[in-house]
């Protein structure tokens, strides 16, 4: 049984599944904190209802995000022990710091936020949700610092066959962080905005709790427009960075087989993924150079010369990440992104001009548009990570040298099937609850005796 293949499959499934929930956590926590801030500042009950309603949906999503995150923390050691030995000196650091700085903060203060409504003062309660927001952003930052090392290793030296930390400052200021971190954060806001737009549109169509959902719609459309544009701009920066740092990823996502200057952008390219023989190639001349250089000339290296170059540098082997995966992931992500800019612009106009009654069809479409950020998040993640192939740590450590030695095919097959079953059941329950609470509206969210609580009859002994 091919342990490497199964380990890759398991990692891909568990991380994609985990990253299904992370962006909504990042974005929605901030929106909930904003609503609660307005509630504390104005004392208006409707903002408390907004906080509780979106807070409920946030919690359902958060729970599954947290538990699937633990798997990632363990999986490096379980399935990728040789990777862990090789990079632990560096890669373990951001992971440990993430737990110490972010996980404790998030989980502890979320516990207080859920159970502390009537127990602590309003201001303190507000502080707890902001600490949850800060915690989840710190968490995202450290995990992206760790990922940046895999994309572009810096601040290390090789000693006795393993990477050893020499410059921590270089590790935490590694270039990808500056584009990846804001890209992921804005993607989180986009996800939360579209989630909010979809749910609000559903209720506005039914004239249910119009006041509550107009406020939600307004916030979501404004944030959505800014955030979708921001995602695109930071994504564009990432694309330009690839030119110097990961040219093979760039060539593969453009299905550019030969080096070109000026380089053309593919409209549709179909080729044989094994032999790299191009069957159909429609391209716009010079456009790829423009994307990469901001002018219509400039060299972009192709897959075939890069493959030769890598073979000379690192020995024989396949250095081409599957172009069809990268090519279509990239186009799906960008397509979904552009569509979302358009949708949030229209939504904002509708809100500002109060055109809700005139365009019911648009409101009917919005619940379906909730799928768009999920499609973009997933394909974006696939693009970044699959594009590293065959490197686990870029130009330093390859896949076969990373997988656990002690691991048998039967063990990993067992866990793979186990994860698929459990994750399958959990997503069913999650979607069921999400739909139930989203459809029911704010009343259910605040009624199910969310009001605190463990009343304080007698203090326990010894206190």
């Amino acid at each position: 049984m091919n342990v490497l293949l199964l380990a890759r499959l398991q990692f891909a499934i568990t991380i994609i599944y985990h990253f299904f929930f992370v962006p909504l956590t990042l974005g929605l926590s901030l929106m909930v904190a904003v609503f609660e801030s307005i509630y504390v500042a104005t004392g208006k009950e409707k903002y408390k209802r907004l906080t509780k309603f979106w807070g409920k949906l946030f919690l359902i999503n958060f729970a599954i995000g947290v538990v699937t995150g633990i798997v990632q923390e363990f999986q490096f050691g379980m399935s990728w022990s040789e990777y862990s030995r090789f990079v632990g000196d560096i890669f373990g650091v951001p992971l440990a710091i993430e737990a110490l700085l972010a996980f404790f903060l998030e989980s502890t203060f979320l516990g207080i936020w859920i159970f502390g409504w009537e127990r602590i003062s309003k201001g303190l309660h507000l502080a707890t949700i902001w600490l949850v927001v800060v915690g989840s952003y710190i968490s995202a930052m450290w995990i992206l610092i760790a990922n940046a090392f895999m994309q572009h290793p810096v601040g290390y030296t090789i000693e006795d066959g393993r990477a050893v930390l020499t410059d921590f400052y270089a590790v935490i200021t590694n270039y990808p962080i500056y584009s990846h971190f804001p890209h992921v954060l804005s993607a989180g806001l986009v996800t939360a905005s579209f989630f909010m737009l979809g749910v609000s549109a559903y209720h506005l169509l039914k004239h249910n709790e119009t006041e509550i959902f107009r406020i939600s719609f307004r916030l979501a459309s404004a944030v959505g427009l800014v955030a979708t544009i921001a995602v695109g701009l930071f994504g564009h920066t990432q694309g330009q960075e690839l030119l110097d740092t990961q040219p093979m990823k760039l060539a593969s996502l453009e299905a550019l087989y030969d080096t070109e200057n000026p380089a053309s952008l593919s409209i549709l390219t179909i080729g044989n993924p094994v032999t790299h023989e191009v069957l159909l190639d429609w391209r716009v001349p010079g456009l790829l150079s423009f994307m990469e250089y901001n002018r219509f000339t400039g060299e972009v290296q192709g897959i075939l010369p890069l493959q030769q170059l890598y073979e000379q540098k690192y020995g024989p082997g396949d250095y081409v990440p599957p172009p069809y995966i990268l090519y279509w992931s990239f186009r799906t992500m960008v397509g979904a992104g552009l569509l979302m800019i358009l949708i949030s612009l229209v939504a904002l106009i509708i809100e500002l001009k109060n055109l809700y009654a005139k365009v019911p069809w648009f409101l009917k479409l919005l619940p379906f548009a909730v799928a768009l950020p999920y499609i973009a998040n997933t394909t974006g993640w696939i693009l970044t990570e699959v594009g590293r192939f065959p490197w686990v740590v870029y130009e330093l450590l390859k896949l076969p040298a990373s997988v656990s030695v002690a691991l048998g095919g039967g063990e990993i097959l067992t866990s793979l099937i186990g994860f698929i079953l459990v994750y399958g059941l959990l997503i069913t329950a999650t979607v069921y609850l999400m739909f139930k609470f989203a459809k029911a509206g704010p009343t259910l969210a605040s009624e199910s005796p969310a009001e605190f609580n463990p009343s304080l009859v007698t203090p326990p002994e010894g206190q």
């Binding site: 560096i90 440990a96 502390g116």
Partner: protein
Amino acid sequence: MTLNTLWFIFIAVLYTGFFVLEGFDFGVGILLPFLGKTDTQRRTIINTIGPHWDGNEVWLIAAGGATFAAFPNWYATLFSGFYLPLFLVLIGLIVRGVAFEFRSKDENPLWRSVWDWCIFAGSLLPAILLPIAFSNLVRGVPINADMQYIGGFFNLLNPFALLAALAVTLLMIFHGAAFLSIKTEGELEKRAKAVVRSTWLLVVLILVIFIITSFIVADVRQRLSVLPILFPILGALAILASGYFLRKDQYGRVFLMTCLTVAFVVLTIFAFLYPRVMVSSLNPLWSLNIENAASSFTTLRLMTIVTLIFLPLVLLYQGWTYWVFRKRVSGDEKKLTY
């Protein structure tokens, strides 16, 4: 003291914190279906640990992350070698965490019952499997010259590990019942106290047998020093003291003593290990220790600074949550948080 020793201590502290804190909420989770006869009672039981369990669990994640950063070879050998037990621990923690959040969000009795049993199973699995993993660290497992575990799954289920699982799981149930005794009222409080009273002798016996066996099974007799003797004695004193407070009906102090017992049991394991982190049963030279498993000096120094700044902060704000929720959880349906 070298940084390597300091990091061994930090990791011992993180696992101790984990077992003390998550220990009682595992115990509470295991007792849930048996002590909670009605839906409201079950919700009350869950609410005693509701604000805390997630923060408690982070101690395990922090311990895992710290092991990765400070002793990458330990992390790599342990996690890949003990693959299936850790996979089952993960499954347990996953269904348990989701169950806490999901169980009350639907009225359907079947829905609630399924999630309640998920909490039970998700608490029991790690409560059994983690002691199996830790006891094997001291007992010694087949590790070859390349630091690879070559023993397979069933090799881990040896009698000593099963004894450890039994002892620690029972201790956690006892610990959880003591916690419930001071956090609930009325009928639930009575039932929790009854569990504490009826299991005390059993827990003492099993713990004593476990400690004595561990002196026989592990290689500690050849490397005796102060701590491997002191910690089990303190643990024994704590569990005996819990019996004393039990008779005086002072359950707050009983809980304090169970906290100490759990802490000293975990510390005993680490005292037996030091300076190894995983003992090889094939050749003592192939054992992983705080030198050959460790990260570089630069990394250890960096992590020391970070930990010394942030761990006290964590203790402070986690302590605060226990202060905020220090009162008993009322079984009054109208006052429960869902």
